[in-house]
């Protein structure tokens, strides 16, 4: 009996020691992950990109019955995987919620967060995360029932508004109502499903989130609750919401890759390169600019190397496997009714904000 006790004590001691060593090794891995290039290197070593996404926003990120993900944000995950690993299918998607997404990125559970996330000063600075480039210029809107008779948010004195927790949306909503001296009741949900259930039963008079999100929720509104025709999005825009991918702070090599993949897709559209013509253009680039973008040789000259730490022809893979910015937009957002012409998401040459710095 005494012997057993003795053994127990000894094994407890060993466990403690092992635990403290485990802590120490965790410490060192953390140190390496916060230093410089490691995320890019980790993705290369792993052969898989871990992408945090939305799994429940039609057009931006949805998971199908067979477990496959699709959407506008998903395509940017694919594009980054194509650029780094040469294969757009090498992505491991992690569904995140509005409130756990930053922790998922900060803790290293995911490499990259592309989940309709708004670029704000406090998130950029205080959350120690970096926004790469806006992929979509959104703005907060308000969706109401057509039969409510509301034509503007000014009509909504005393209304109950359904809103998602942990977003700038909640704060913009309060600014809009209390700023104009109107009373309202916010009903703050953590996830979309109970929110939609409440809205369908008219527990709330309005539903506020980014207009893109409203368009997608409206498009998929169930016929049992009246279908898309029962709803309208009020014309007013409450806020600026530039959405884009995020990486961890001080992770500049990976950050640069993500940023320039996004810019490359925009530049490709501007240069008229798309998934069907990219291989023929790459074999015979019409001008040095296109050659630099595609990492191809112009009339037998030297191939420009931007030293991203990935193959020079990464944009060829991105465009052939995923497409240029316009193709991705048309594939996922036009079906929702988010027209591009005349919006902020048009090319800069057409009066929009989609503008890529030069590849040189």
């Amino acid at each position: 009996m005494k012997k057993i006790k003795y053994t127990l004590l000894i094994s407890a001691l060993f466990a403690m020691t092992a635990f403290s060593f485990a802590c120490a090794s965790e410490d060192s891995s953390e140190a390496s992950s916060s230093g410089g290039s490691s995320t890019l290197q980790q993705v290369l070593d792993r052969g898989m990109l871990k992408c945090g996404v939305n799994d429940n926003l039609a057009g931006f990120g949805v998971v199908a019955a067979d477990g496959s993900f699709s959407g506008f944000d998903i395509d940017f995950c694919k594009a980054v995987a194509a650029a780094i690993l040469g294969d757009s299918s090498k992505v491991e998607y992690t569904p995140t919620t509005a409130s756990n997404r930053f922790e998922a990125l900060g803790s290293g559970e995911i490499d990259l967060l592309i989940r309709n996330t708004t670029w704000t000063a406090s998130r950029d600075r205080e959350l120690k995360q970096d926004f790469t480039a806006p992929t979509f210029y959104d703005g907060q809107g308000m969706m109401v029932y057509v039969d409510s008779g509301y034509n503007s948010i000014d009509d909504m004195e005393g209304a109950t508004i359904c809103v998602l927790q942990g977003t700038t949306t909640e704060l913009n909503l309060d600014d809009r109502f209390t700023g104009t001296g109107m009373s309202y009741t916010p009903l703050t949900f953590e996830t979309n499903d109970p929110l939609q259930a409440a809205f369908e039963e008219k527990r709330c008079d309005g539903w506020t989130t980014d207009k893109s999100g409203l368009a997608s929720k409206r498009a998929s509104f169930p016929a049992s609750a009246g279908g898309p025709e029962a709803l309208k999005v009020l014309p007013e825009t409450l806020s600026k919401e530039p959405l884009g991918p995020l990486t961890r702070d001080n992770d500049s090599e990976f950050y640069d890759v993500v940023q320039w993949v996004v810019f490359g897709m925009m530049q490709a559209e501007e240069s008229g390169i798309n998934s069907s013509n990219v291989s023929s253009i790459a074999s015979n680039p019409p001008n040095p600019g296109v050659a630099r973008l595609l990492g191809a040789s112009f009339e037998g000259g030297e191939v420009q190397d931007f030293s991203f730490g990935i193959p020079k022809d990464f944009m060829q893979k991105v465009i052939s496997q995923v497409g240029n910015y316009g193709e991705v937009y048309d594939r996922h957002l036009v079906p929702l009714g988010l027209e591009r012409a005349g919006s902020l998401n048009a090319m800069w040459t057409e009066g929009g904000l989609i503008y890529a710095p030069p590849f040189r």
């Binding site: 406090s122 009903l187 703050t188 953590e190 008219k202």
Partner: protein, 396 residues
């Protein structure tokens, strides 16, 4: 002269001495680990200074706290704490009633009664609480929409925006009046207690014009009479607050007045009461069954009715083994109330999550949440331990 090694060997021959060494080594490693964590933690940002900045978000339930989005995050947090305490207090009260009734019913000789209680326990104890909460949310959303609200003679309105009940509103002196009534209630209770005790001890009963009066009746009548008299003496301090629903000029349905039982509060309350009630049912049943059968038989033998046997003999004894596990259930209920976040009830967890998201300082807020739940749990433990001491006192 013995060498040093010899003396160590000699010393280590005693089990007691070896134990000292082992414990010292163990303590050393624990201290090392403690120092390691302390050093790691001391490098972290743990200040809560951002709590004094403007909250900037609205809350749907502001019970007893006059919260607006212009207040600081502390006020928002406090509103959340009050919402948690509110749902927990009501739920603890109701779940104890439900559990006791069901626990007794479970042992009933009546087939239907005992099977109903059995089904209640087996079905609801074995499904996840989160699912029950969402179930109740959906149930309450199925109430009529506000444009088709059910009203009962303009005093009660039921819709999925809330169940509005008539309530009382303050006309100015209500607070003083309530304090006064509290004192009167305590006095009446003491009077009843005193009269009953005197009757038990000396057999003297309180009587007016030769009519013998029960001590409880005297206390209750005193309280009712004083309440009515002072209601007028204080210049009608409270009046009925009749709820009203109407459309404003833009067509928005507005609720005003009365007591608003919102579907979110009702859903979390129902879920907590019914789920925790299953465990309390089993605690009550087990404690009653642990009593010797002779207790019931003896109670019957001296001519007590079944109800009297239960309330005078069985439950008071069962209480001794009920209270400690009951405390656990109350603690579980309090901690489970944090699941309210999924159905938009702004409890302390939901409010602090919002603050965390707005400020980005996750760690200090998490510590604050932990400390708050710890404080609430310790308060419950304290009260329950006092009650436990009272019921387990020999000769009480």
């Amino acid at each position: 002269m013995k060498s040093f090694v010899d003396s160590v060997v000699q010393w280590s021959r005693f089990q007691r001495n070896r134990n000292i060494v082992i414990q010292a080594v163990f303590l050393f490693f624990v201290t090392l680990l403690g120092v390691y964590f302390f050093v790691r933690a001391s490098g972290l940002e743990l200040s809560l200074s951002h709590f004094s900045s403007r909250a900037g978000f609205g809350l749907s339930h502001t019970f007893l706290v006059d919260y607006t989005s212009n207040d600081s995050r502390w006020v928002a947090y406090f509103t959340g704490v009050v919402n948690t305490i509110r749902v927990c207090l009501v739920a603890i009260f109701l779940t104890t009633l439900l559990g006791t009734v069901m626990g007794v019913a479970r042992l009933s000789k009546n087939f239907l009664t005992s099977k109903i209680a059995w089904t209640y326990v087996e079905v609801l104890r074995n499904t996840p609480l989160l699912i029950q909460i969402i179930f109740w949310q959906i149930v309450f959303l199925q109430l009529p929409q506000i444009s088709e609200a059910i009203t009962f003679g303009d005093t009660t309105a039921i819709s999925n925006r809330g169940i509005l009940l008539p309530w009382i509103s303050d006309n100015g002196n209500a607070q003083i009046w309530f304090i006064f009534l509290g004192i009167v209630a305590a006095g009446s209770l003491y009077l009843s207690y005193f009269l009953n005790k005197r009757e038990d001890v000396s057999g003297k009963s309180f009587s007016i014009f030769g009519n013998r009066l029960n001590g409880n009746l005297v206390g209750i009548s005193l309280f009712v009479i004083v309440t009515i008299v002072t209601y007028f003496a204080f210049g009608r301090p409270v009046s009925m607050d009749i709820p009203e629903i109407a459309q404003n000029n833009k067509g928005t349905w507005m609720q005003s007045g009365g007591f608003d039982l919102s579907p979110e509060f009702a859903a979390i309350l129902f879920a907590l009461v019914i789920y925790t009630g299953t465990f309390i049912t089993e605690i009550v049943r087990g404690s009653i069954q642990s009593l010797s059968k002779g207790q019931t038989e003896a109670a019957q033998a001296i001519g007590l009715s079944k109800y009297q046997a239960m309330t005078l003999v069985i439950l008071p004894q069962a209480l001794r083994s009920i209270i400690p596990p009951l405390t656990n259930q109350f603690l579980n209920l309090t901690k489970n109330s944090s699941l309210a976040v999924v159905i938009a009830y702004p409890d302390l967890f939901m409010v602090s999550r919002t603050i965390m998201n707005n400020s980005g300082h996750a760690l200090p807020v998490f510590f604050l949440i932990l400390l708050t739940y710890l404080f609430l749990s310790l308060c419950i433990s304290l009260v329950m331990n006092l009650i436990n001491r009272r019921v387990t006192r020999i000769g009480a």
